[in-house]
């Protein structure tokens, strides 16, 4: 009478397979070698900082906000999203320019003629995207950016916006023809530009003072 051996390890064939397998495992040991232990980082004591990927995310969020103001259909959203992703992955070269031009074309095709929160947001948003992406261009996602690095660009951006927003209001009001006194926006815009220019000169004067003497 033949009794079937239920224990596969007692069978000669299975034993050979197991031995061969264990030999292979020993030969190609896939366990993590000890040198994989991560090396420590060089310590750098600096001011408050943010990683570059956070700035990328903020720029992306602002860009999506700009898209939301002009995109009206799903294909536009898809195209704009692709451009934003490309812009965040590669903030240098064509993707940012294509995104800005796409935004301009959408505005040109839209029915936004009067100065509104939407128009102001677009002007501010595109400028902010440009400022943020200029800072993080060529940087790896893990790069630490000192918060003070943003001070200069932010100051210049606010001054420029202080000029551009009134000009936008003035030109859009003039172009819409929805004014009874035609010369008033022109005078107002001129006054704002002059005042902003004086402000710019003061800020430039502050920048010139930085140097070793301080």
């Amino acid at each position: 009478m033949t009794v079937a051996d239920s224990n596969v390890t007692r069978s000669t064939g299975w034993r050979r397979v197991i031995e061969t397998g264990s030999r292979l495992i020993r030969t190609f040991d896939f366990r993590e070698p000890s040198w994989v232990r991560p090396l420590p980082r060089v310590g750098v004591q600096m001011g408050r900082w943010v990683p570059a990927w956070v700035v990328h995310l903020v720029a992306g969020a602002v860009a999506v906000g700009c898209i939301a103001m002009v995109a009206s259909s799903r294909p536009q959203w898809v195209l704009a999203s692709i451009l934003v992703v490309l812009m965040l992955v590669r903030p240098v070269g064509a993707p940012p320019a294509l995104f800005a031009l796409w935004l301009g074309l959408q505005v040109a095709a839209s029915d936004v003629t009067a100065y509104s929160l939407q128009a102001a947001g677009l002007v501010f948003g595109l400028h902010l995207v440009a400022v943020l992406l200029i800072v993080v261009a060529d940087l790896r996602p893990g790069t630490r950016i000192e918060v003070r690095v943003f001070a200069g660009p932010a100051r210049r951006m606010l001054v420029i916006q202080a000029i551009v927003q009134p000009v936008t209001w003035a030109t859009m009001t003039l172009a819409s023809g929805d004014v009874t006194v035609r010369w008033l926006p022109i005078v107002a815009a001129f006054g704002v530009v002059v005042a902003s220019w004086i402000l710019v000169r003061r800020v430039v004067g502050t920048d010139e003072g930085s140097g070793p003497a301080q």
């Binding site: 020993r26 420590p40 750098v44 004591q45 600096m46 677009l122 790069t143």
Partner: protein, 443 residues
Amino acid sequence: MTVPRPGPPWRAGGVALSWGVTGLALVLLGLLAGRPLVVTLGMPLVIGMAWSWSLRPTGVAGVSVADSRYRSETGRVEGDLQIVPAQGVATTNLRIGSSAHRHVDVVVDSTMHRALRLSVSGSRTGRRSVFTAAYLQSGPDQITRADPDSLGPIDVTVLPRTVPLGRLPLPFRLQGLTGAHNSRRIGDGGEFHDISLFAPGDRLRRIDWRVTARRVGQDPGSASGITQLYVRRSHATADAVVILVIDSRDEIGPDVATWASGRPVHPEDPTSLDIAREAAGSLARTYLESGDRVGVIDLGRASRALRPAGGRRHLQRVLHQLAGANPEGEPARRVRAPQVPSGAMIVVFSTFLDDEPMKLGEMWRAAGHRVLAVDVIPRPDLDRLRPREQLAYRIIELERQDRFWQLTGAGVEVVPWSATEGVGASALVHGLATSARRRDGRR
């Protein structure tokens, strides 16, 4: 002959210019389409570029690393990366690295004088090359960029840590004329040796009047009075000469897989040479504090020996000598043992991975020196070794044990030193104290 002058270091930044050109395109698009909002979309970009261009740098900021040294309060090697600002330079992109460390990329504001504290792990001793920095300076909004530059590495000498030790063994024969130890010679010293008859040359203050009085009547011919004077004799004091022999021919870490692979040891793991430096430094400190003389011999370099001397300043010389001991190429094979002063005690710090330190120890012992062999191999990490690596380690360990047995048979005392905090010192002290007691018992 004309000397070529370097070109202007600043180049126009492509990113800011591309945004400016894009803004210009938007302005043109808006003018052509008659849409003022499109014009004003592009205006900030154009104005921003023009403004940044007007602020473009004219000088180059100075970048340097200063005051790099080991700081015991933090246990790390630290240095200050200093940035001296220049007109128009807004930011500096830095890639800061160090040997066996991952680099860090940072962007810092460069409009004022900056000093960034850099630090790397300080568990390794000796001469270390630390802090490399590749940097790129930029104008406002990256409108212009300087050519990339670099500095470093900076050479820093990290002296070994010293651990206070207790009682340490002494040479078989103390040869000095003064010191903190009692020698076998009779002379001016502390401990009592014996009572002896007064002889020419003995000092009068050494006469023991009580013994002399008691001997009246006992000595022949002394019935009528004092005929013999007795003096108290004491052991002379002497100092010990200790030669620390450091084997700098190899340097291995606790990761056995790195021993022959050429892979660097993890920077937070002390190597055998770090342990040897710490052990030798601790012994040197203890011996020098007790008034003995200490010399250093480096087995890795024949011409690098520090003569035995004493004093606190000599401890610094010893520590610097130990810190400078590094594996340098293939050392020349020694035909005979390095010469040491007669009667000196020799302490060999080695991994004993080959026969040379064992043979030298045997030679010194055969010449009559007291020899201690300190095993400085780090506690091996065997958990992640592959089977063939474990087998190789077992063979190496068996060979080492054979050498230790051979050394012990030749009369060399073998003690271990572990890198673990406190364990090494206590193990060594225990081992050495046992040796010292044994020697005292024999004497």
